[in-house]
C-alpha cells in the first residue's frame, strides 16, 4: 500500500473498522462486551463520507484480489447519514440490550450488516457490490429473529426466502452485466456504459429492478418489510428501515443506465414506484401496530424514490440521482428516528408523552413535506423530476397520503404508551432519539446547499411554503375522517400479499411430496437398471445422430 491517497485510506478504514471488531469477536471476552461498543464501528465511515467524497477510485487489481472502491456524491450523502444512524442506534442498542443474554449474537449480526451497509455505498465493482449486498441482507436475519418468539421466526423465514430470491436475481443480473461489459471488466462504470447496447439489456434491467426493488420494498415484493420491521428489536428496526433498505436505493442509482433515455423501462419503473407509493399508504392506514404503519410508510417512500429514478431513466437524465439520493438520505434520518421514538414511547407514561409526540409529529409530517423541515427540502429536490403535470399531481397526492399515514401513526403510537402515567424512558433511549430527531431536521438544511441540490432561498419562498403546506392540511382533514370511520376499513393482515405467498409455499410442499414419491420409484433396482441401460443407449444414439 504505497502512498494511498487519504480518501482511499479513509474508505478502507471505514470497512476495516467493523471487520476488525468482528475478528475481535473470535475471543470470548470481547464478544461478550461487543454490544456496548457497536457505536464505535461506523465512526470511520462517517469521517469518510465527509472527507473522501469525490476522491479517485481505489482499485486493487492484483489477482487474487480485485476490489474497487469509490465514493461519489450520492454514495457519500447516503453513507454519511447511514453512518450517523448506525452510531446513534448503536448507542441505543447498548441500553436496549442491557441484561440480555444473547447480546453476542446480536452484535455479530449487527457488525456484519453494518459492513455490508457501508460497503454497498462505496463499492465500485460488481463483485464487491455483490458481496456487500449479500452482507447487508443475509446477516440481518439474526437481528430480526433476536427475540426468538414464534411470530418472529415466521417473519425471519419470509425475510430469508425473499432475500435469497433477491440475491438470485442480482447474481444473474450481474453475470449479464459482466458478459456485456467490454473486456469482461467488472467495474460498475464500464458495465453500465456498455449496458444500453448490450444484447442482454432487457433481461439485465428486469433482474436489476426486481432485485433492488425487492430490497427497497416495491410492490409486490414488499411483503417482507412490514413483518420484519415489527418483529425486529427497536434499534435493529431503526437501522433496517433507515440504513439497510438504502442498499436497494443505491442499487437503483448505480445500476440504472441514466445516461441513455429508456422510456419503456423508465416508465415501467415509475409506474411501479407510484403504485407502491399509494399502495403503502392505502394498506398502512388499516394497520394498528405503529411499527407496521412505519413499515408501510417506508414501502410508500421507497416507491416514490423508485418513481423518481424511473422518470430520470425515461428522460435519460443523469442529474436525477442527486435528488433521489437526497430524498433517500432524509428518509434514513427520519425513519431511523421514528423507530427509536416507538421504543421511547413504549417506556414513557402518558404525562410525559407530549414532548415525544410533538417531535415525532414534526418528523413524520416532514416525510410529507411539512414546511421548514428537512422533508420540505427533500420534496423540492425531486420536484424538477416529478414536474408539474400529471406526475407532479400524483406526487402531491402522495404527500397528502403520507401526511394522513403519519397522523395515523401518531395516533397509534399514543396508544402504546406505558399505562403507568409517571413512567419515564431511560436516558440511554431518550438521548439517541433526541439526537436523531435533531439531526433529521438540521442535517438536510446543511446538506441541501452543500451537496449542490439547490438553494435554500427556494425553500423559504412564500409560494413554496404554501405549496408544501396545503397537502399537509388536507392530510390532516383526512386523518380526522379516518379516526371517525376507522372501524369500517377492512382489516388487512400485516404483510398483506404475504398470505398468498405462504399459501403458495404450502402448495409447493405438496409438490415436493409428489416429487419425493417419484424419486422413491427411481431408486428401485429395476428402475435404476433400466435407467442405466436407457442412458447408455440414448447417449450412444445422441452421439451417432450428431455425425
Amino acid at each position: 500500500l504505497n502512498l494511498l491517497p487519504l480518501s482511499a485510506l479513509l474508505l478502507v478504514t471505514a470497512l476495516a473498522a467493523p471487520v476488525t471488531m468482528l475478528l475481535a469477536c473470535l475471543w470470548r471476552s470481547p464478544r461478550e462486551q461487543m454490544h456496548n461498543l457497536l457505536w464505535l464501528a461506523p465512526i470511520p465511515a462517517l469521517l469518510a463520507s465527509l472527507l473522501a467524497v469525490g476522491g479517485p477510485p481505489l482499485i486493487l487489481n492484483h489477482p487474487p484480489y480485485r476490489v474497487a472502491l469509490l465514493l461519489d456524491l450520492p454514495g457519500a450523502m447516503l453513507l454519511g447519514v447511514a453512518a450517523l444512524l448506525w452510531i446513534v442506534a448503536g448507542f441505543y442498542a447498548s441500553s436496549y440490550l442491557r441484561g440480555n443474554s444473547h447480546g453476542a449474537r446480536f452484535a455479530i449480526c449487527w457488525l456484519l450488516t453494518l459492513t455490508g451497509s457501508v460497503g454497498a455505498f462505496m463499492s465500485f465493482d460488481l463483485a464487491s457490490f455483490y458481496l456487500a449486498f449479500a452482507l447487508v441482507s443475509i446477516p440481518a436475519y439474526g437481528l430480526i429473529v433476536h427475540d426468538g418468539t414464534t411470530g418472529v421466526q415466521r417473519a425471519g423465514s419470509i425475510y430469508m426466502a425473499l432475500t435469497i430470491l433477491g440475491e438470485t436475481f442480482l447474481l444473474m443480473a450481474f453475470v449479464l452485466l459482466a458478459a456485456g461489459s467490454p473486456g469482461g471488466s467488472l467495474l460498475i462504470r464500464d458495465a453500465m456504459a456498455a449496458l444500453p447496447t448490450s444484447p442482454w439489456r432487457d433481461p439485465a434491467l428486469a433482474l436489476l429492478i426486481s432485485g433492488f426493488g425487492l430490497k427497497a420494498g416495491l410492490v409486490p415484493l414488499h411483503v417482507w418489510m412490514p413483518l420484519t420491521y415489527s418483529a425486529a428489536p427497536t434499534p435493529a428496526a431503526a437501522v433496517l428501515s433507515g440504513a439497510v433498505v438504502k442498499a436497494g436505493v443505491i442499487g437503483l442509482i448505480r445500476f440504472l443506465p441514466f445516461s441513455t433515455a429508456m422510456p419503456d423501462w423508465g416508465g415501467a419503473l415509475a409506474g411501479i414506484g407510484l403504485l407502491t407509493a399509494f399502495y403503502g399508504v392505502a394498506v398502512g392506514i388499516t394497520q394498528t401496530n405503529p411499527r407496521t404503519v412505519l413499515a408501510y410508510s417506508s414501502v410508500s417512500q421507497m416507491g416514490l424514490i423508485a418513481a423518481v429514478c424511473g422518470l430520470g431513466l425515461a428522460k435519460g437524465d443523469e442529474g436525477v440521482v442527486i435528488g433521489a439520493a437526497f430524498y433517500a438520505a432524509h428518509h434514513v434520518l427520519v425513519k431511523g428516528a421514528l423507530f427509536l421514538a416507538v421504543g421511547v414511547v413504549a417506556t414513557t407514561g402518558s404525562r410525559r408523552l407530549s414532548q415525544v409526540l410533538v417531535l415525532a409529529g414534526v418528523l413524520g409530517l416532514g416525510l410529507g413535506g411539512l414546511p421548514l423541515t428537512g422533508g420540505a427540502l427533500a420534496k423540492l429536490a425531486v420536484k424538477p423530476t416529478m414536474g408539474e403535470g400529471m406526475i407532479g399531481f400524483l406526487g402531491t397526492l402522495s404527500a397528502i397520503g403520507t401526511a394522513l399515514l403519519m397522523l395515523h401513526f401518531l395516533h397509534r403510537l399514543t396508544l402504546t404508551a406505558r399505562p403507568d402515567s409517571e413512567a419515564a424512558a431511560p436516558r440511554g433511549l431518550v438521548l439517541p432519539w433526541l439526537t436523531m430527531a435533531i439531526a433529521s431536521v438540521a442535517i438536510p438544511w446543511v446538506l441541501y446547499p452543500a451537496a449542490g441540490v439547490g438553494k435554500l432561498s427556494d425553500a423559504l419562498a412564500p409560494a413554496a411554503l404554501w405549496a408544501a403546506l396545503w397537502p399537509i392540511l388536507i392530510g390532516g382533514i383526512l386523518a380526522f375522517g379516518l379516526r371517525r370511520w376507522e372501524d369500517r376499513l377492512p382489516r388487512v393482515p400485516e404483510g398483506d400479499l404475504v398470505v398468498m405467498v405462504e399459501s403458495a409455499a404450502r402448495k409447493s410442499v405438496e409438490w415436493g411430496a409428489m416429487l419425493e414419491r417419484a424419486e422413491n420409484i427411481t431408486r428401485q433396482w429395476p428402475i435404476a437398471c433400466l435407467a442405466l441401460l436407457a442412458i447408455a443407449l440414448l447417449l450412444g444414439a445422441a452421439m451417432l445422430a450428431g455425425r
Binding site: L131, M172, R523, A542
Partner: protein, 507 residues
C-alpha cells in the same frame, strides 16, 4: 493408420514425483496389514505431510514447467510401457485430495483410535488401511494415462470405498454398502466394455495415443457412450443415484466426508478426461452434451427438493451431494464453442474442488453435532450453535459455498458456469442453476436457522470427544471460502498440458 503422434520422450523433470504419490500409500497399506492396527494409524500420520508435500510439489512442478509432468514406468514409453501424466487438471485434483484426506485423517484420529491395551481393533485397522487405499487409487485415477489402468484404479477405488460405508457393521449400512457395490460394479462393466471396444478398434489404450487415432465413427461413439454411462453410475448422477444417499448418510462422518467429497469426483474426473481430452470432438456433439447436462439439471432440482424434505441431517447432506454433482455435468453442454469451453471447464472444476472442501467439512460437522446430541434429526438442532459454535460456524461457511453466496468457491464456480451459459446462448441452464441455488438456500436455512436460534434452556450434551476436531472442520470450511478469492476468469493452471486439438480425426 496414421503415424504415431510424437510423444515427449521419456520421463520429464519432476516426473519421479508421480509414482511416489501412488507407491507410498500402497506400501503403507501393505505394511499396515502386516504390522497391525496401531502401526497403521501412526503410519498414516507420518504419511500425511509427505503426501501433501508431494501433491503441492506436483502442482508447483506443473505450474513452473507450463506442461505436463510425465513418468514412464520402467523407462518404457507407451504403447509398450505405461505412462503416468500430471497435467493441470490432475495437479489440482491431487492437491484437493491430499488436503481433504489429511483433514479427514486428523479428524478421524479421535474416532478410530485403537483402544489402549489392545494391539488392534477391527474398525480402526480397516478405516486406516482403506483411507490409504482410497488415497492411492484416487491418485492413480488422476495420473494414469491408460484406459485399462484407469479401469483397475476405479475398481480398486470401489473396493476401498465400499467397506468404509459399513464400518459399524449394522444391517442397515451393510445393505447400503451392498447396494453401492453392486451398482458400482454395473458401472465398471459398462466402462470395461467401452474400453474393449476402443482397444479392438484402435489397438491402444493410452489416452494421448488414442486421442490422435480416434475417429468419429460408430465404434468410438459406442465406446464413449458406454464408458460415460458406467462412470456416471459411479458418480451417482441422477437418476443413477439410488446407492448414494443411504451409503453416504450411513457411513461414519469421516468416511462420509471422503466418499462425498472425493470418491464421486474420481469417476467424474474420468468423464472429463474422456470428453475433453480423449475425444474433444464429443463436445461439439450437441445432443450428447445436452443430454448429460439435462441429467445434471435433473440432479440439481430433484436432489435439492429431496434435501429440503429429509428429516435427518446426514441424509440432507447426502441429497445435497446428489444436487451438487448435477452442477458438475452442466459443463458438458456449456463447453460447446470456443467461448464457452474454458470458462465452463474452469467453473466445473472449481465446483468440484470447492464442493470437496465444503462437503467434507459439512459431513464432519454433522458428525460432531450428532456426537454431541446423540441424534441428527434436523428438527432437534435447536440451540446447537451455542453449544458448538465453531462447528456450526464451519457448517455455515460450507453452506455459503453450496448455496453459491460470496465469499466462497461455490460462488465463483456458479458465476463462471452462468457466464458460460450466457456466452454460449444456453440461458435455460441459468434457470436451473438459480433455482438450485434458491433450493440450496432453503435446505441450508432449515439447518442453520434452528442451529443459530437461542434457546432458553441449555442443551444437554453427551460427553463428546476432543474439541480440536472442530478446528480441523473449520480449516476445511475456510478452504472453500478462500477459493472465493479466485479470479472470475479461466485459470491458466487448468489448461496446462491439455491437448488443444480442435477437431480430431477425419470422418
Amino acid at each position: 493408420m496414421l503415424a504415431l503422434t510424437a510423444l515427449p520422450g521419456g520421463t520429464t523433470a519432476g516426473g519421479f514425483l508421480l509414482p511416489l504419490t501412488i507407491v507410498l500409500p500402497v506400501v503403507a497399506v501393505l505394511l499396515a496389514l502386516m504390522l497391525g492396527g496401531r502401526k497403521a494409524e501412526s503410519m498414516v500420520l507420518v504419511l500425511l505431510p509427505v503426501g501433501l508435500g508431494l501433491a503441492i510439489a506436483i502442482v508447483v512442478g506443473v505450474w513452473r514447467a507450463g506442461d505436463s509432468l510425465i513418468y514412464h514406468v520402467g523407462g518404457l514409453a507407451p504403447p509398450l510401457g505405461l505412462a503416468l501424466r500430471a497435467d493441470g487438471l490432475s495437479a489440482v485434483m491431487l492437491a484437493t485430495t491430499a488436503i481433504v484426506i489429511c483433514a479427514t485423517a486428523l479428524f478421524a484420529q479421535a474416532t478410530f483410535r485403537t483402544p489402549p491395551g489392545s494391539p488392534e481393533a477391527r474398525a480402526p485397522l480397516i478405516f486406516w488401511t482403506l483411507l490409504l487405499a482410497v488415497w492411492a487409487t484416487m491418485n492413480i485415477v488422476f495420473l494414469a494415462g491408460d484406459l485399462f489402468n484407469l479401469y483397475v484404479a476405479l475398481e480398486l477405488l470401489t473396493f476401498a470405498a465400499v467397506p468404509l460405508v459399513c464400518l459399524d457393521g449394522r444391517a442397515e449400512t451393510l445393505q447400503a454398502a451392498l447396494r453401492y457395490l453392486l451398482f458400482a460394479l454395473l458401472g465398471s462393466v459398462l466402462y470395461l466394455l467401452g474400453t474393449a471396444l476402443l482397444y479392438g478398434a484402435y489397438g491402444t489404450l493410452d489416452i494421448v495415443l488414442l486421442s490422435g487415432r480416434i475417429r468419429h465413427e460408430s465404434a468410438a461413439f459406442a465406446a464413449a457412450g458406454l464408458m460415460t454411462t458406467g462412470l456416471i453410475a459411479k458418480t451417482a448422477l441422477f437418476p443413477l443415484h439410488l446407492w448414494l444417499p443411504p451409503a453416504h448418510a450411513g457411513a461414519p462422518a469421516a468416511a462420509s466426508a471422503v466418499l462425498s467429497g472425493l470418491v464421486v469426483k474420481a469417476s467424474f474426473f474420468l468423464v472429463v478426461r474422456i470428453w475433453f481430452d480423449l475425444m474433444p470432438g464429443l463436445l461439439s456433439e450437441v445432443a450428447a452434451g445436452q443430454m448429460l447436462s439435462t441429467l445434471g439439471a435433473g440432479a440439481i432440482l430433484v436432489g435439492s427438493v429431496l434435501a429440503l424434505r429429509q428429516p435427518r441431517l446426514k441424509l440432507l447432506i447426502a441429497y445435497s451431494t446428489v444436487a451438487q454433482i448435477g452442477y458438475l455435468f452442466l459443463m458438458f453442454s456449456l463447453s460447446a464453442g470456443p467461448a464457452g469451453s474454458e470458462i465452463a471447464l474452469t467453473g466445473g472444476m472449481l465446483q468440484a474442488v470447492s464442493h470437496a472442501f465444503a462437503k467434507a467439512a459439512m459431513f464432519m460437522s454433522a458428525g460432531l453435532i450428532a456426537e454431541a446430541l446423540g441424534h441428527d434429526r434436523v428438527a432437534g438442532l435447536g440451540g446447537i450453535g451455542r453449544a458448538l459454535p465453531v462447528t456450526v460456524f464451519a457448517f455455515g461457511l460450507a453452506a455459503l459455498s453450496l448455496v453459491g453466496l460470496p465469499l466462497s468457491g461455490g460462488f465463483i464456480a456458479k458465476w463462471l458456469l452462468l457466464s458460460a451459459a450466457i456466452t454460449t446462448g444456453q440461458w435455460w441452464w441459468t434457470v436451473v442453476m438459480l433455482v438450485g441455488g434458491l433450493l440450496a438456500g432453503g435446505y441450508m436455512f432449515r439447518v442453520l436457522a434452528p442451529a443459530l436460534a437461542e434457546v432458553d434452556e441449555p442443551l444437554v450434551l453427551r460427553a463428546s470427544g476432543p474439541r480440536y476436531r472442530e478446528w480441523v472442520v473449520l480449516t476445511l470450511a475456510l478452504g472453500s471460502v478462500l477459493l472465493g478469492f479466485a479470479p472470475l476468469k479461466p485459470f491458466r493452471l487448468l489448461q496446462i498440458g491439455r491437448p488443444t486439438v480442435p477437431e480430431v480425426g477425419s470422418r
